[in-house]
Symmetry: C3
Subunit: 158 residues, 3 copies
């Protein structure tokens, strides 16, 4: 058993490979939310720090306003915070779950599904707003997978 566990956290373990691949995709997706927020700040002429006024004007931007309440910007920021709340705890649950040595088929399907669900969540929340239950559904898929993995870890340990 000790021997079997030696390779679990390496790319030669297909479960870890899948975890790291989809995990890195989610890291990129999550961090792109900053650019996405910046896009709407630029488009809607809205900034939040007074020291940014000068550089905005130097970039040829007129009528920039200090505003912490622009609807487009706030929507993307809610999407970003939702990522932090759901993706980051999930990546810990996933890491521990890899070490429980789960079946490759189940684990890699779950890692892929969770990542695709979060990408879909961002799209229906901040790109093309689609009526509910689209957002609730994409949120729930990854949420359920995260809870499933965390519970598996709790049951496996001890």
């Amino acid at each position: 058993m000790s021997d079997a566990s030696l390779d679990l956290l390496s790319f030669s373990n297909p479960v870890f490979d899948s975890y790291a691949y989809w995990g890195a995709i989610l890291v990129i997706k999550c961090m792109l939310m900053s650019i996405w927020t910046g896009y709407f700040r630029f488009k809607n002429h809205t900034i939040v720090n007074s020291e940014d006024l000068k550089i905005a004007e130097a970039l040829g931007h007129r009528n920039v306003k200090l505003n912490t309440n622009d609807p487009d910007v706030e929507r993307v920021r809610r999407g970003h915070l939702n990522d932090l709340e759901n993706i980051l705890p999930y990546l810990f649950a996933g890491l521990f779950y890899v070490l429980t040595n789960p079946s490759v088929g189940v684990a890699s399907t779950l890692f892929k599904l969770a990542a695709l669900a979060r990408i879909a969540h961002t799209i229906v929340y901040t790109v093309i707003v689609i009526p509910q239950p689209a957002r609730a559904l994409t949120w729930f898929i990854q949420y359920f997978i995260a809870i499933y993995m965390a519970v598996s870890v709790v049951l496996y340990s001890k």
Copy 2:
């Protein structure tokens, strides 16, 4: 030394087992804050995304208002953000700390204490609001453990 370190990140290492067990509990606790927020949104008839109005009404909900400032909801959301600020960096510090090969007794006591302190923090902050210093104390216990582990890692490395 190299040989001894091979098993550190596996459930056969009791230090890692304790870390992953209490870490998974904290992941679940942290993610349940979303449900807890949803409960107060439902109870107080308050939503934040306009596309959620229709589904709320379809579920038989009258008088739902767009509101980003409901006191109950905001309290739970502050508790959730406080979790992200404290639990997530701590889980990284804990992971690195496991690899410094600490004493089983000390490490597993700290992991358990930190998790129980965060559960208590959520209760006194968002379930039954208890006068200070209850919240400050529960916050501080886990905060101190996180800093202790991170400092241990800094001193151990190099």
Copy 3:
């Protein structure tokens, strides 16, 4: 290859040692933002939870107001949230990157640079506010490193 990967997540691997050292520094830096926020709440007589009023007065504090909109406090809180958005996903990308067995020179330079950039970001954002592009630049250095590591992981896996 399997053999070579066994030691990657241990302090005897200089790439991991650098990752964990600078990672622990960032965990400490990130968590200190709570103290930094508390300092401005104290200085500006502003609290956010009603149950904190009594303890503030017991500590000899007069004229404490419930206020969720103090400019100094909000600036530090934006800095803190910016840390969560950038440091935490980066620490996952870095962990996976360590397992791709990168060159020690490149990897340890990137880990050091990313950590120093985030420390500088906090200083120019919340300690001594320096005109742009100081903040943008410090933000971008670590952001770019995080994306680079995540892309390396995506390309390495499979």
